[in-house]
């Protein structure tokens, strides 16, 4: 009995450093955010008042916030499916090739390891309306030359394209790992059982067995694209005319430009709720369909 108690004390002591770090770095800031969301605190202010749900009421009434939510959803709706299907397609192509697997993996993975802020400058040049190579190419083909990042019609599309470029290689690497985990024997069995072409094999073996990988890639891609911020902050500042205003940029602006930390915290809470809801749906609904054991 005494030994058990001693063990419990020793165990508690040993988890203490990690526990303190968790408390200081995660739990307390989250708690502070939750509390701040119900106040009118402004950065540098000496006092704050409890205003209940006023911040959330303001959010609902704020047209700018509504635009920001809509833009974020459009961005996620574009980047997530394209980067997943594109990543899967690239993974299948690279895996099927006899040579250059490592080369292509490195090439497509490069955007993931490079710094987005620095790459954004490169994109700014590429998409420049007059001196950018993209428009130069379009001009050469006799096509129209849009103002990619400075027109409210195309800015979200341009940002989404950059978002796809950023995450397609990451998804490809995840899918390649998933592909190598599929037993070769299953493909042999599928051939003997009558699968004639690549599509039959994909339907019967590859796609179902990639289920767990796809779920993981879907989760990661959604979170990554929901968190879009760097490209917006560097390239468009939410403009023109709020056409590229996204959730995290609105939060940043309210908190650190207008110093309204209370309102900013409320936006953060909404963002957290959206992420948690998505995760919950994915684990509850999809998890049951992709793990077979």
């Amino acid at each position: 009995m005494r030994r058990l108690a001693g063990e419990a004390v020793a165990g508690a002591l040993m988890t203490l450093p990690a526990g303190i770090a968790y408390l200081l770095l995660l739990l307390l800031p989250t708690l502070a955010t939750v509390l701040l969301a119900f106040t009118d605190y402004e950065l540098g202010a000496t006092a704050l008042g409890w205003i209940g749900l006023d911040n959330f009421r303001e959010m609902l009434a704020d047209r700018g916030f509504g635009v920001s939510v809509r833009n974020t959803l459009v961005y996620v709706g574009l980047v997530t499916p394209i980067s997943i299907l594109g990543g899967l397609g690239l993974a299948l192509l690279v895996e099927a090739g006899a040579k250059g697997r490592a080369f292509f993996r490195a090439v497509f993975f490069l955007p993931v390891v490079s710094l987005t802020v620095a790459m954004a400058a490169a994109w700014q040049y590429l998409l420049h309306p007059t001196i950018g190579p993209v428009n130069a190419a379009l001009r050469a083909m006799g096509l129209g030359t849009p103002f990619w990042l400075s027109s409210s019609d195309t800015v979200l599309l341009s940002l989404a394209a950059i978002g796809v470029w950023e995450s397609i290689g990451f998804n490809m690497v995840l899918f390649m790992a998933g592909l190598t985990a599929i037993p070769r024997e299953l493909y042999a069995a599928a051939e003997v059982d009558g699968a004639r072409g690549g599509f039959d094999r994909f339907r019967l073996v590859t796609w179902p067995l990639l289920g767990p990988t796809t779920l993981f890639v879907l989760t990661i891609s959604m979170i990554r694209s929901l968190r879009v911020f760097d490209t917006v902050a560097v390239l468009t500042q939410g403009g023109p005319n709020k056409a590229s205003e996204v959730l995290l940029f609105t939060m940043y602006q309210q908190g650190f430009t207008y110093l309204r930390l209370g309102y900013s915290a409320a936006i953060t809470l909404v963002f957290l709720a959206v992420v948690l809801a998505l995760m919950w749906v994915q684990t509850q609904v999809l998890d049951k369909r992709v793990h077979y054991a």
């Binding site: 051939e191 003997v192 179902p208 067995l209 077979y292 054991a293």
Partner: protein, 378 residues
Amino acid sequence: MAGITISGVVRQFGATPVLRGVSLTVEPGEFVALVGPSGCGKTTLMRIIAGIETADAGEIVIGDRPVTRLRPAERDIAMVFQSYALYPHLTVRENIAVPLAMRRLSAPERMPLLGRLLPGARAKRAAIDEEVVRAAAPLGLEALLDRRPGQLSGGQRQRVALARAVVRRPAAFLMDEPLSNLDAALRVQTRREIVDIHRAAGVATLYVTHDQAEALTMADKVAVMMGGELLQVASPEAIYADPADLRVAGFIGSPRINTLAAEADAAGRVTVAGLPAGLRTEARGALTLALRPEALRPAPAGLPAVPEHLEFLGDGLLLHARHAPDGTPLIARLAPEAREGLQPGAALKLGFAPGRALLFGADGRRVASRADAALVPA
């Protein structure tokens, strides 16, 4: 009825030859076991017959059709894999139905949900389901039809793999070590079931195994493969009693066959360590004399031996001894009563009937021998 004919199949991986010109015939309705140590090329040969791998040279005929250049799906064969290779996301019912669905349903009809609405798909699916149940019933799978492979034991998965193979009534069965992942008791039971399935289907079957007991008990014909070559193809009885090659003699039989260095003099008289062995042969020079453990028994005349220890097997005894002149280990299988009169360390003689002695030349090939009437084993 269809059989399998393989002629001159060659396969190399890089510079390493895996199959060096293998020819083998499985008659219609015959059960042939392809046995050999791991790495001898037997699985590669089976995968080439199935069309999963390609041969560098050689022809394969299934039934009357040359299939060497056909895809696996067009060869009309079914295969049971060592790992079972069941589709983990499909139920037992769906797994067994795959070979039928892939052949009878068009691509749109195989689509989930929508495919069921197409005209004719419902009737086809009902027919398939009926055949699935008919294939599953004899294997005791009816109660498991709606489970997934992950919820089944190894033996049950094995049965599902067998049902998936028989459901389509193919021209030939190929089985790649299907029992090697089962425990010993289950293996003996499933052995019987596979033989029954083969009888009921009456289809040419090639069964790959490294387990000589499986090969001897199940097959009509055993093909022993080593180093990418077929050493001997014969009935289980002939493989055991009349091996054509020293490597076949050594691989088949447990405990292993006893081998002794022997010599034939100018007159063809065989001696072991200078003592006459009571055999005559046409060969000359260095030979190997091989004797099954059950061919040896204590006798007034024979090979001088020193017993080391006895193993009691219930229905018999194994006497482990050493050949006195050169220390070669010898094993004799004796009746349990033979225990009396055996003392460890006390030298004795192990005799054998000349008809049970097997002689092999320096190249490992069998050489004929007969009893030497002039000499009685000393």
